[in-house]
Each structure stands twice: as C-alpha cells, then as structure tokens.
C-alpha cells in the first residue's frame, strides 16, 4: 500500500492512456451558496477501476453527476477522451442503486433503451445481437423476452449492467450499484462486475460507502472529506487480480480497510 498526494505525484498507472481527466473542479450551489466540491483533480486511466469513498454529504454524488454530464460544474475542466463533457454522452455508461427497468419493456428492450433514445428504433433492432451477447455475459441468456416483474433484484441489476454496456461506453460510472441488494447477492454481483470489467478492459468509477467493497474492487480509492467536498487521499490497492471474496479475510486486506477507515476519520461516523 502506498499513498500519494493527488495534487503532486502521478500514480503508478500514469503511463496508461488517461480516459477521464478532471482538474480544478468546484461546484457551488447558487441556491444556498453551499460549496459541494472544491479543487477536485482526478484521473481515470484505461482499464482502471477507481472508487470514491466518503461520508454522506462529502460531495461524491455531486462529483458523479458532473462526471455524467447531468450537472454543470461551477469551475474546472472535465474531459472524457479529450473532449469536454457538456452533457450526457453515449460514451458514458451509468448504473444506479436501483435497476430502474421499464416494466412495459422486455429485458432485451430495456437493455436497448439507450440506443433507442439516441439512434431510434431501427438502430435498436439492429443491436439486438449485441444485447443478446451481453445477456449471455451476465448469465441472463434465457431472460431476454421476459418482463422485469419476473426478474429478481440481482437479475434486474445484471440487466442494468447490460444496459450500461450496450453503447460500448468509454467509462462506467457506478453509483452504489448493488447497495439495494442483500449481502450474499452483493458479494456475488461485485465478483461479476470485476469479471466483466476485466474481460472488457473497462474503465470504471464507483461511488460507494462500503470500504470492503471499494477495496475488493478497486485499483485506486479516492477518500473524500466534506465541507467543502474535496479529495483527501489517493490510495493505491496493490492486491493481485482477479480478486476473490476470500481475500477479505487476509491480513493485508484488513490493514487496507483499517487505513481507509482512519483516513475517513471520525466525521464519517457522525
């Protein structure tokens, strides 16, 4: 485990192609002049899995919304694949706490929804084979023509993974994607997520408040502090890949978790 100050030193993966670059980002809400984010610098490299962890109100949701193009920053540069993010883009894949599948569409049509919205029904129809392949990837091969009411919570989230991947995005933004699932399902889905990300060399950014989950999945973890929201530490997790659930019980894993917990400080548990 090594620590670097994100404002000074490039991290070990610095030689890889940067996908997402943020510098000098701040967000002040005009309504109550609340400073949600201040001076945030952050880089995601190709194929890297990065998590951000922090107490509620540390600005991590605001950060994710700005990265997704759902909200404009007050100041700062937000660049994805060398182009500034000026709104929602097809090369950004998002996943939320809830699967939010439309109940009147079959699983496969739900997965094709991003294509249908951006390029129309014909393009969506042409992408059916790709959607079927994604369903196979997450083990839902037989459930393409089923309505979401017949899917369990874990299956619905797997369908949401497919929907996020269908437009082949350059970056995956994950907003506590499995926190609504029970613990057994959550562990399983985290392992699935790792497998999919490794297979596709996906660049992923995960917002979570489970330290163990962040450590298990991430190459790096940004620790955020509130008032104003800022990145306090950039921690590299040098556990070997692929990770497995047994690693949670190793001494090294425990040390990393302990370190992050003390980095979060007492304010995280107010």
């Amino acid at each position: 485990m090594q620590m670097t100050n994100p404002h000074l030193a490039p991290d070990a993966t610095g030689q890889r192609h940067p996908v997402y670059e943020i510098s000098g980002l701040s967000k002040t809400y005009a309504r109550n002049s609340l400073v949600a984010l201040k001076g945030v610098d952050l880089t995601l490299h190709k194929g890297e899995f990065v998590s951000v962890i922090g107490s509620s109100g540390c600005g991590k949701s605001t950060l994710l919304k700005i990265m997704a193009g759902l909200m404009p920053p007050t100041t700062g540069r937000v660049m994805l694949e060398g182009k500034p993010v000026m709104g929602p883009r097809s090369d950004i894949g998002m996943m939320f706490q809830h699967a939010t599948l439309l109940p009147w569409k079959t699983t496969i049509d739900n997965i094709l929804l991003p294509i249908e919205m951006r390029e129309g029904r014909q393009a969506a129809r042409n992408a059916t084979d790709r959607a079927t392949a994604l369903l196979e990837l997450v083990g839902l091969g037989k459930f393409g023509n089923v309505y979401p009411a017949e899917l369990s919570g874990g299956m619905a989230q797997r369908a949401a993974i497919c929907r996020m991947l269908i437009a082949e995005p350059a970056v995956l933004l994950l907003d506590e994607p499995f926190s609504a699932l029970d613990e057994l399902n959550r562990d399983f889905m985290n392992m699935e997520l790792q497998r999919i990300c490794l297979e596709r060399e996906a660049t992923a950014f995960l917002v979570t408040h489970s330290i163990a989950e962040a450590v298990l999945l991430s190459d790096r973890i940004y620790v955020m502090k509130p008032r104003p929201g800022r990145i306090d530490q950039n921690i590299k997790i040098d556990l070997p890949r692929p990770r497995n659930l047994d690693m949670i019980n190793t001494e090294k894993f425990g040390q990393i978790v302990h370190h992050i917990r003390s980095a979060l400080g007492s304010e995280a548990f107010n």
Binding site: L70, S90, I92, T100, W104, A149
Partner: protein
C-alpha cells in the same frame, strides 16, 4: 376472517389455517344468495302493503316492466331510439372529455405555465357544483343533444385533467435521471417514460369520468328534455309509473356498466404490466 386450528393427522398434530365459512362460499353462490335475500325482503315489504305500491312496486311488477321495456328496445321501438340518443350523448361527452381533459392534463403536468396559471382556474371551476351550469348549456346550445353532451363532457373532464397531471408526476427521480443520462429529449421523456408510467393514474381518472359522464348526460336530459332515457324516466315518474322508472334505471345502469368495463378492458390491454390488486378483480 382466517382462523387457525389444530387437527390430528396420522397421529400428529398439524396446524392448519382455515377461512371462516362465509369466506369459503364460491363467488357466484354468494352473489346469487345476496340477490335472493334482497329481492325476498323487497317482495315481503311490498306484498304485505308495508310500503305503498306507488313508492315501491313489487318485484313481480318490476320484472314484468323490465321484460316490457326490453322487448320494446329489442324491437327497435321508441325506447330503443331513446337508448341510442342517450348512448350517443354519453359517448360524445366521454370522447370530448378525454380530448380536453388529456390536453389540459398535459399542459398542467408538463409545463410550468400550466401548473402556475391554468391549474388554479381548473381547481376553482372544479369546486363549483357543475350541474348548476346545465341551464347555461341549454341556453347556449338549445334543447337538442348538444347541451347534454356539453354538460356530460364538462363533468367528466376534471377527473381526467387531475389524473393525467398526477400521472405525469408519477415517474420516479431514478427513472428521470436514467432518461437524462441516456440523452433522452424532453419529448422522449414525456412519451416513453412519463406517459406510460402515468397510464394507471390516467385510467383511474377515466373510470371516475365514465361514472360522471353518465350522471351528466342524464341530468342534462332531466333538465333539458329531449329524446333520451332521462326524459323517459322523468315522464314515467310524473305518471307515478314507478315500475317503469325502475326498469329504465336498470337499462341505464347496463349502459354505464358497458362504458365502465370498456375502460377496464382498455386498461388491462394497455397497462398489462401493472397488476394492481383490485377487490374481486372488478375494475
């Protein structure tokens, strides 16, 4: 009411749950039984002279008149004409109410202007007793079917406006965020998310409107005369022909049921994903 009890099975005590006797009666027997009880009481109070025949006819007299009116309708005589008139009034009124109600609902639910400027007026008009507008409609549109259509539509519009607007608010924050994140336009969000999500609400409004449109059409016919069933009922009542009033109301309620269940059928057809629990599967 479910009650639990223990029983001996193969020497073991098992705990089984049993519904009370009255809840185990099959539905059609329960309905038929209740019907027989009500008609029985009706028969007793009228044949013993406990209630005057002018106020309440006997079940037998009413049944004979139901057959008479039914035969008249089947032969396409004047009562059939009246039924057609009232049916058309109801149908036109309902279609107009759907058109205006849905448009206003979209305006109120989808635009800030509608919510700020239009909604207060709609609420103000909705609180008025709408039947009181009947003389105005007659003055404006005459004694023909148009004034009755107007009153029926007027009464049925408001539930549709309210239901449509409420339906458009029904999409959750998560769903809206999903649609924004996949780059959906405002129109796409409206037609592919908010309207489908709001359909169960809209159909609830349509069911309320289906009841209101009947009331509006008959009230219009009571107050404005004309050729419909409402006029026949008024005429029969003024002649103290209570069996006729009863049987006309029965046929009228069949018309109301037909309209209501058309809406229910449409709801099942278009909102197939929403299997909300309804008592006994009615509505």
């Amino acid at each position: 009411m479910a009650q639990s009890q223990t029983e001996q099975h193969h020497g073991e005590t098992v705990w089984i749950e049993r519904e009370a006797f009255i809840d185990r009666i099959p539905r059609w027997i329960a309905m038929l039984g209740l019907f027989i009880i009500i008609v029985g009481i009706w028969h007793v109070v009228t044949t013993t002279g406990f209630v005057s025949a002018i106020i309440l006819p006997t079940p037998g007299e009413t049944w004979n008149d139901i057959l008479f009116v039914g035969a008249n309708i089947m032969r396409g005589e004047y009562m059939f004409e009246a039924l057609v008139t009232t049916s058309l009034t109801v149908l036109y009124g309902f279609l107009i109410a759907i058109g205006i109600g849905f448009s206003l609902g979209l305006l109120v639910g989808e635009t800030k202007f509608g919510e700020k400027a239009v909604l207060p007026y709609l609420v103000a008009i909705d609180t008025m007793p709408k039947v009181a507008f009947a003389p105005l409609f007659i003055a404006w549109l005459g004694f023909d079917i148009a004034s009755k259509v107007a009153l029926a539509a007027f009464i049925a519009t408001f539930p549709i406006v309210v239901a449509t607007a409420a339906g458009l608010y029904a999409a959750s924050e998560n769903e809206r965020m999903l649609f924004r994140s996949i780059g959906a336009t405002r129109w796409q969000t409206l037609f592919r998310l908010k309207l489908p999500t709001g359909l169960p609400y809209i159909f609830t409004g349509l069911k309320i409107a289906a009841v209101g449109v009947m009331a509006g059409a008959i009230t219009g016919e009571f107050l404005g005369g004309g050729q419909g069933f409402g006029a026949l009922i008024r005429q029969a009542a003024s002649q103290l022909n209570t069996p006729r009033v009863f049987s006309l109301i029965l046929y009228l309620s069949l018309l109301g049921l037909a309209l209501y269940f058309t809406v229910v059928w449409a709801q099942r057809r278009f909102v197939f994903w929403n299997k909300a629990e309804t008592p006994g599967g009615i509505g």
